[in-house]
């Protein structure tokens, strides 16, 4: 079965997000007041696996070994069958 996983990587709460802060400031220049702007990265991964559980486990390993840095990041995985 082929699966489509979307991995979202965010900075852990409490960490500085200079890019988000800069975007917030730029929005203020345009007249938009916001409470907070934070950034995240999304990775789309297509993979084959026997089941959704196995696919999720594989993607989780990928996150731990490479895609996220556990010192500074939290991540979430959303998985569905490829269309």
């Amino acid at each position: 079965m082929r699966y489509h996983a979307e991995v979202t990587i965010e900075l852990k709460s409490g960490m500085l997000d200079p890019e988000g802060t800069t975007i917030k400031r730029a929005l203020e220049h345009l007249g938009y007041q916001t409470e907070r702007v934070s950034t995240a990265k999304k990775y789309m991964i297509e993979l084959d696996a026997e089941s959704a559980d196995v696919a999720t486990q594989k993607v989780d390993e990928m996150c731990q070994k490479l895609i996220a840095n556990p010192i500074i990041h939290n991540y979430t995985i959303e998985l569905e069958e490829s269309k």
């Binding site: 900075l11 960490m15 500085l16 200079p18 800069t22 490479l66 895609i67 840095n69 500074i72």
Partner: protein
């Protein structure tokens, strides 16, 4: 004695380090392309600055997972000295050889300027030629140099005297005003937890401050200390 300078696609301070080692310090050194998997013939290694793999994913993340890094880890485990400068520090942190992570500067801008550093620990293979508390001038050039570690790690780094350099003013005051990137406690360079302290990472560029014509030659003491350390064995 021979020192390896590890070259990744996107390294760009490799030739500067080679020049300083060969022509200024006067030691045998050579560039080693990242596909090499065996570094047994070398007595130490330097991972130079640059933008390995275009800083894709995170600065240093891809380079940290190349096969040559297994060879660098082997060197480190054998007690041989390993120095990571700028992107080299990012690579060592990403590879787990050093604690913490280097994140985007607090003001997200590429900063290329002179900085003063306070030498906090001279009992390492890289800082024996400095005096404890000495203020040295070594420039930075980075956008992801904001050192971050969780509370426990930070406490251990301090307790274990693993912090080697902090950003300071010319009088040695370690303040927010002279912190160029938002690093916790102005940390500019650290060593590993091992008692040998044989792995160092720092964001400033000692190779850009190794000749008087470059306005500072404070940086050369790092390379000389490393050579002293290897010679003593």
């Amino acid at each position: 004695m021979k020192i390896a300078i590890i070259q990744f696609g996107g390294s760009n301070c490799d030739l500067d380090v080679l020049h300083v080692l060969q022509d200024v310090v006067g030691v045998d050194a050579e560039l080693v392309w990242y596909k090499e998997e065996n570094l047994n013939q070398y007595d130490g290694a330097i991972i130079p600055g640059g933008f390995s793999y275009g800083d894709y994913l995170r600065a240093g993340a891809i380079a940290a997972r190349t096969p040559i890094m297994d060879a660098v880890k082997k060197m480190a485990s054998e007690g041989k000295p390993v120095m990571g400068i700028c992107n080299g520090f990012q690579i060592l942190a990403e590879s787990g050889l050093l604690d913490g992570a280097l994140t985007t500067n607090k003001y997200p801008k590429f900063r290329c300027e002179s900085t003063y550093l306070k030498v906090e620990n001279t009992d390492t293979p890289f800082t024996s030629r400095f005096k404890k508390g000495e203020i040295v001038s070594i420039p930075i050039a980075h956008m992801e140099g904001n050192f971050y570690a969780d509370e426990n790690t930070l406490a251990r780094l301090n307790e274990n005297e693993q912090v080697v350099f902090r950003y300071a003013d010319i009088n040695g005051n370690v303040t927010d005003d002279v912190n160029p990137n938002g690093s916790q406690e102005n940390i500019a360079g650290i060593v590993n937890a091992n008692a040998k302290r044989n792995v160092i990472g720092l964001m400033p560029h000692p190779e850009r401050a190794s000749e008087a014509i470059l306005r500072s030659n404070d940086g050369i003491k790092m390379f000389q200390s490393m050579v002293d350390h290897i010679s003593k064995k």
